[in-house]
């Protein structure tokens, strides 16, 4: 019998990965505080996601509360406080954050997996699957959510081979 995928992708690990992404990309000393955001999937802003394919198929989705997108984009791109980022900048920043989160999540999985190119749009993407793991967080008072959607069982097959 397979183990649940949450044995590999648990909230604590995803939170730790997201924390590193935040301090490196959003800014030194910028903290993503887990568990302070709404528990229900109530984050009201845009999402960016990447697919992971291989022995386990899934999607890593980052959703940023509408109030936080401009602030987040300014922080990542090091824009001035009064500068209004373009919609394209916002999408690009969310995509890249999702890409980095996705790559790090992929590395937690056994066996060869491939990462898709990041996309943006309205979430959720795969209503047929349960959320495997959901981390609600708060950054500078803005809500954020990282969800991993996909099969609930971990791949039974384990190999160290690298994907082409």
């Amino acid at each position: 019998m397979s183990a649940p995928i949450t044995a590999l992708l648990d909230g604590e690990t995803v939170t730790a990965v997201a924390g590193e992404v935040w301090s490196a990309l959003v800014g030194e000393g910028e903290l993503l505080l887990p568990g302070l955001g709404p528990v229900a999937p109530a984050v009201d802003g845009p999402s960016a996601w990447v697919t992971v394919t291989g022995p386990w198929d899934g999607v890593v989705v980052l959703t940023c509360g509408a109030s936080g997108t401009a602030d987040l984009t300014r922080s990542v791109l090091q824009l001035d406080d009064d500068e209004q980022p373009t919609a394209e900048d916002v999408d690009d920043v969310l995509r890249e954050l999702a890409n980095i989160l996705g790559g790090n999540v992929k590395s937690l999985l056994p066996g060869p997996s491939a990462l898709g190119l990041p996309e943006t749009g309205p979430a959720p993407l795969r209503a047929e699957d349960e959320d495997t793991c959901r981390v609600s967080a708060s950054w500078r008072g803005h809500d954020l959510a990282i969800t991993i959607q996909g099969a609930s069982e971990a791949p039974a097959h384990h190999t160290t081979e690298v994907p082409k």
């Binding site: 990965v17 910028e30 590395s107 500078r140």
Partner: protein
């Protein structure tokens, strides 16, 4: 500006950081503490760093304490930090030791302020890659003031951000494996390193004798009499033909005249003066 950090608050933060990380924040670094902790204070909806410190002192919260330490200590340690003492090890020191010692005679090295272990494992990797039978012949003693740092060194596990700091990619793939979100040094290299708690300012336990000592970026935190005392104790646990490496901003000159400064690679090393 909001209420600034009182001296007692600053001292408390310094003690916390020193206890948890062995990193010493010099007096006068109040501005650094303010700047680095402000985002955390803002996160928690507090008006400033003074209020943050007051809150944690009154009611300790592990997550916030950790946040404070991390905000003040990240990026302080990297692999191959100031590369010269490492290129000198394989270029000059080990060939000299091989010539002076019997074949297979153990080589003992001390990483005297090991922090989370990067220095000790950098030495282990370099020697494993350049000296036959290094994994059985070389013994590395890693010590630190902080128990947390000693535990981290023993575990030999590093985050993604930590392995990104100056560790050559070929060495990463040769000597580490992925464990969850972290990277773990190989068991063979971990066995070369023995880590324990040690306060350099106190009496030293039975140690050595060492062929090489790395005592880098430690002396700068001590006053001149303590510096002299630490250097004297280090000399007592070194072989007479041993090598001492100090931090780039440190020297024995004018502190303890029983050392000879010798050019070593692109930098300098210190060797016990004969007859002293």
């Amino acid at each position: 500006m909001t209420a600034s950090l009182a001296t007692s608050g600053f001292d408390w933060v310094c003690q916390l950081v020193r206890r948890e990380s062995a990193i010493v924040l010099a007096p006068g670094k109040e501005y650094l503490v303010e700047a680095r902790l402000m985002p955390l204070a803002r996160q928690l909806g507090l008006s400033g760093v003074a209020e943050l410190v007051e809150r944690v002192r009154a009611r300790p919260e592990p997550a916030i304490t950790r946040g404070i330490v991390e905000a003040l200590t990240t990026n302080e340690t990297s692999w191959f930090r100031d590369g010269d003492p490492f290129t000198a090890l394989t270029g000059t020191v080990v060939p000299a030791l091989q010539a002076a010692r019997r074949p297979g005679e153990p080589i003992s090295i001390w990483s005297a302020a090991c922090s989370s272990g990067q220095e000790a494992y950098t030495i282990a990797m370099l020697l494993a890659d350049s000296l036959p039978s290094a994994t059985t012949r070389v013994r590395i003693t890693a010590t630190d003031l902080s128990r947390a740092m000693v535990d981290r060194t023993r575990a030999g596990r590093f985050s993604q951000l930590e392995v990104n700091r100056g560790l050559p990619a070929p060495m990463l793939v040769r000597h580490f494996s992925r464990v969850g979100a972290e990277w773990e040094i190989s068991p063979a290299l971990r066995q070369m390193v023995t880590a324990s708690e040690l306060n350099l300012a106190g009496p030293l336990p039975r140690l050595g004798p060492f062929d090489v000592v790395y005592l880098r970026n430690v002396l700068i935190y001590f006053d001149p009499p303590t510096k002299r005392e630490v250097l004297r104790k280090v000399r007592q646990v070194m072989r007479p033909d041993g090598w001492l490496f100090l931090g780039a901003a440190e020297t024995t000159l004018g502190v303890d005249d029983s050392w000879e400064r010798v050019p070593c690679g692109r930098g300098s090393a210190y060797r016990p003066m004969k007859g002293k």
